[in-house]
Symmetry: C2
Subunit: 423 residues, 2 copies
């Protein structure tokens, strides 16, 4: 493999996580070790910004800012949900690809790293194949990222462990709160957790059970069809036994007909998925109405993927590791792969990185195995716990300022534009 000299471009895509910037830090740190890589650029707002030639010079950032990225939530480079879609909009997609390679050429981008989830890996895959077709020499490596933990072929995804730690802690704390208030009248609290199709994050709430409150008493996963009657019976059983019931529910839970309990079908996101909002509210009305048990809801929303103040140190370290591994793979001449995590040992836990063909990742979803869920479908079982537990371990040393965690903002020194504005 000939040595490839040129510039590096790293960008982020999709929903942020608490550690999405840690992977960027890993890319920057590793890139600094390799003489083949000349400039280190960041693309603002993913592909969307790159098409507009919105690049920043990451070598202009302070060293402390690069370090701070490891502990700062949200996408420091900005993300997008922009998709180059050859199926639905072939003309736009072809035009976008032309423009993208114009930008790559104009800035001699020879190393491209895209940190994202399913859709972003698909984009990376398309860019890789376009490069081959156009005979433009570039190394494209995807870096995994999603709190949903739904990418195939990787043991887990960076971002999941931190979100799981936050979710499990929140469920334990809410259980202490509601458990202390519960009297004979009974009480119920329903906590809605992100995850459209896969229930990994909702499932991770089960880790809270070690905290001694017995909560969550019920976990509703999108993988298990929702049965109203069985659910209400289970809530009643738990309230009768403990005076209170904490339910963790995935936002995307569906009835037997496959209809989402909380979906407003009239609203679609940029990828054509229905927007979800109300699984917890729907369930609360049900419990309140049918069982007459006082029921409150918590909807964690964006807070659960941004809670860097409760990030998992292991997750941070692995996210950095994935960024570093991406650069090393590219330097070794690989392109068209996603970095994946491979768990080689359970006790002591050990994970290493490897590569997976991007074509194997895109638009495929990794769900919780059936035999990791209790027979009645209301709790992830011991296999799930064993898998999940190591991912939330370790706490970073956070710096607080005036009572709040200190997060990093990049200076974002722009790279001079050399192309005409996008038509």
């Amino acid at each position: 493999m000939a040595e490839l000299v040129g510039n590096l471009l790293v960008a982020q895509s999709g929903g942020p996580t608490a550690v999405i910037n840690a992977s960027v830090a890993g890319v920057i740190r590793e890139a600094g070790k390799h003489g083949l890589i000349e400039e280190i650029y960041g693309g603002l707002n993913g592909i969307f910004g790159i098409l507009n030639e919105d690049l920043i010079d990451l070598n202009e950032e302070k060293n402390s800012a690069i370090e701070g990225l490891k502990y700062t939530p949200g996408a420091a480079l900005g993300t997008c949900r922009y998709k180059i879609d050859f199926k639905k909009k072939p003309e736009n997609a072809a035009r976008d690809m032309d423009r993208l390679f114009e930008v790559f050429q104009a800035h001699n981008i020879r190393y491209f790293f895209y940190v994202g989830g399913n859709d972003s890996q698909d984009t990376s895959n398309q860019i890789h194949h376009e490069a081959v077709k156009r005979n433009y020499e570039i190394r494209v490596i995807g870096v995994p990222k999603t709190i949903d933990n739904d990418l195939p072929h990787t043991d887990h995804t960076p971002g999941f462990g931190s979100a799981a730690k936050y979710v499990a802690t929140t469920v334990a704390e809410v259980a202490l709160d509601i458990g202390g208030m519960a009297t004979d009248e009974g009480a119920c609290c329903i906590i809605e957790i992100m995850g459209r199709t896969a229930g990994w994050l909702a499932g991770s709430s089960v880790l809270a059970r070690t905290a001694g409150t017995g909560a969550p008493h019920i976990v509703l996963l999108p993988e298990v069809p929702f049965n109203e009657e069985a659910f209400l019976a289970k809530v009643k059983e738990q309230v009768d036994a403990h005076k209170f019931c904490v339910v963790a529910c995935g936002e995307g839970i569906k009835n037997a007909a496959g209809e989402e309990l909380g979906a407003d079908k009239s609203r679609l996101d940029a990828f054509g998925h229905p927007v979800l909002s109300g699984a917890a509210e729907t369930l609360a009305e049900l419990v309140q109405g049918k069982l007459n048990t006082k029921t409150r809801t918590v909807k964690l929303g964006y807070a659960q993927r941004a809670a860097a103040h409760l990030a998992s140190l292991r997750d941070i370290e692995e996210s950095v590791m994935c960024g570093e591994a991406a650069v090393r793979a590219a330097i070794e001449g690989r392109s068209g792969f996603m970095v994946k995590l491979v768990r080689s040992s359970e006790d002591p836990y050990h994970c290493a990185t490897d590569l997976q063909d991007l074509g194997d990742i895109a638009n495929s979803v990794h769900l919780i195995p059936k035999d990791w869920i209790s027979e009645d479908g209301f709790l992830p079982n011991e296999k799930f716990v064993q898998y999940c537990r190591p991912l939330i371990e370790g706490e970073p040393k956070l710096v607080f300022e005036g009572g709040l965690p200190r997060y990093t903002t990049l200076d974002r020194v722009p790279v001079d534009k050399v192309l005409q504005p996008r038509g």
Copy 2:
């Protein structure tokens, strides 16, 4: 004042906070210093449990558990929303009072400490006056507690600082998340924060503005009548300027007619207040519908008053201090007072405890002063920030186990019942 020898009873009431147990720890620690106090009992589930003679022996708890209480959320003794209501149910109330003093007498309770908010201070006040009337010698002291910070005569309430620290951190993190995703289409996130009448906690989100994202861009307080037109114009202005807008809203915001935006009038809690659920959802539908700006919601719910993992160290210390001060006041012969916090110095911040007549507290609500709110009503101003900032400062050293904060559960060794069960 004659020395009063006897047993101590401490109980908790109302909605828990992250530090409600720290006040109990303060009571127990201080009580241990005074020979006049013989047994140290806890009442389970507040007045409700005391009427059932559900007492536990706090001297049977491990020393480490008492220490652990300082960092454990939820009410370790249990709370209730049970009210002795002479106005609405005079016969029940009279019967309850008879029973209560039977329990006091049976267990020689001579020191009674009730940790709670407005309604609980009212209960303490009634008990104090009943004792005087009945010529039963007991010292009754209220210990303040509420995340709402709405008790009069005290600089602030224990529990508020920790909730404020969590709320401000969450708003800062969500802003980093949504800010990184924002493209020209714009984006909005509405975070619903507890506080039925007073906007202190919603207002505390303004502390997040030091984090550099500019968020929260808008804070909606129950103290300021909601004006739909002005609100939408403000959201549009912020989205136009920053591409995104983070709105922190108090759950109890009202329109000019005094109607709560998120109230479901058909549901009432035990005190006859309407149950609130949907201010954020109502606003989101408005922004989405009228401005066509993609809008998501976060509803922190119980999580915000239970988030001990992000407690303010100052709040913990002051909560302990209030518990200790209550015992010292009782030992000195005082009864019928609530411990209050008096801020004596701003820089360096210094707060001391003092006493306020319980009759001055009950059923009165402390709102944000008008001149602490910006002229357009959309942000607390610098006076509010100056007041609030010291209350969120400091971080306790938490112990984590398996990736989760380790919280304390009491052994709850019951005190033998000596009375007939309550009729």
